[in-house]
Subunit: 325 residues, 2 copies
Amino acid sequence: MIKIMVDLLGADNDENLLFNGVVEALNKYDDLIVYACVDENLDTTKYKFDKDRLVIINAKGNISNYDTPTKAFFAKDDSSLVKGLNIYKNDDSINGFISCGPTGIILVSAVLILGRINKIRPALAPLLYAGDHQFCIVDCGANSDTRVQEFSLFAKMGTAFMNVMGVDNPRVYLLSNGVEESKGSDIVKEAYLELKDEPSINFCGNIEANKVLEGDADVVVCDGFSGNILLKSIEGSTKVLGLDVIAQAKKYNIDDETITKLVNSLKYKYDYNTQGGAILLGVNKLVIKAHGAATDETIYNTIIQAYNLIKKDFITKIKESIKKI
Amino acid sequence: MIKIMVDLLGADNDENLLFNGVVEALNKYDDLIVYACVDENLDTTKYKFDKDRLVIINAKGNISNYDTPTKAFFAKDDSSLVKGLNIYKNDDSINGFISCGPTGIILVSAVLILGRINKIRPALAPLLYAGDHQFCIVDCGANSDTRVQEFSLFAKMGTAFMNVMGVDNPRVYLLSNGVEESKGSDIVKEAYLELKDEPSINFCGNIEANKVLEGDADVVVCDGFSGNILLKSIEGSTKVLGLDVIAQAKKYNIDDETITKLVNSLKYKYDYNTQGGAILLGVNKLVIKAHGAATDETIYNTIIQAYNLIKKDFITKIKESIKKI
């Protein structure tokens, strides 16, 4: 059986909405058991699913974006996130953990509870599409300030991640404001030199933000702040353009419903949330951070994502790769 | 007469292509004189325009992205950029300067030749659309490393810029990885505190990259590296989505030509290059940096942009505002 724990509380949307995603996933895979961290407001009676494959963990949704990570960790051990992670840590049969809570608090709690592989600095890595080809961005927000030596760590973790995803010798690019070696902030220029000299990765040079979706890169390495700007900007600008295309359709005598279907069919490529969440690379067990604005569809997709990674023995392979770092 | 100097050499495309944009602009405004920095390969004979309103400045296109800015400035005074800027500096009747050359070299040369207003640090500010509403990003790449005190300078210059563009009390946001005051890299968190305490601007808090195109901000303040990521990511991801929409149209029985027209009609909103260039705020005369991959259309639009800014007495108003800083 594949056992996945899902924290349904840290998100903007109500757990009753999100729970639909859990039900859908349980009905898809009959070897799936979900541990759902919820509060007393969840009503599971109205859903049709195999109830023997749902374990309810009663907790509180008392962590918000306004809590500081360490304070939340120490003061709120009854929260869905901290309570859930503690159970997850102690039960080897549970293979994955999903939360929509605040990034910083997930990071701190996962590090303190689950521990880091080889004491490295974890990073958040979402998968996006460039054409039909998937690539990852490391880091997209686990570290707001990144030291130079962490860039090559991110490159190695991203390489290990893409190896598990079936990509041999992934092409690693460094996000910068120009392709030339001389371009970038001081730290990015230093990182370039480190990456260039790193024999264990396939470093291909700098990449500019306007080229990221063109398919050259398998791994885009950046500090967490820039990665967050990149990721959210892709998400936001494609969303706005999509809405614009729909709004203009009438002018060109294109049927509203048809253009909406067309635009929605592309959504998955540019909003990684529709596909699942970002993997927290570098901690001892599989942790996926889903979007704070997750819907039931996000929860469903993230459970499927976790299920597939677990089937691929993701965490064992990542650990093996990271231990070589 | 409005006199604008255009450096046709630093771009990726050939001056003969770009010159079409000059001709088109000359034919649009009969009070426009263009000073074109070109080399001996330009053939103006085949074009139809009022030749009395074109001044040719013979120079060399010997600056590339691989030159270091100060070296290029000192070693290449016969280049179109350095020679052009020197003529521009000494002729008060010329009101604007446009180049598609490398950002760093334009910045260094403009600062050294034209001088800075009040010795402040210049920043590059492009205008983008959020809906029908224009906003600017300051800085988008003049400074790869930004000190904390420069964020409030960028906010003030952006405010002055949007004032000239007709926006009263522009809403200033700080680009960050979360809306909460506690979010951001160390320098962004410090900048937040500075901006919050700055009485001369209308600071509205942090903005995330996925919200930038939603219309809340008139000025988005950021370090030049992040601004470059943001700007190029908007440009690149909307371009890729646009191509995807066109490629999928057939599947939905939408006519190829119609969907291409629709998508192209929106292009101007997300690629500031189609509208002109980024303004180099903080130097003593009007300088516009157009895209390195400029086409004749870009050149035309950038001349129109410069023409309109000059008509609005842009540089006098910016100077007045900046001198109060």
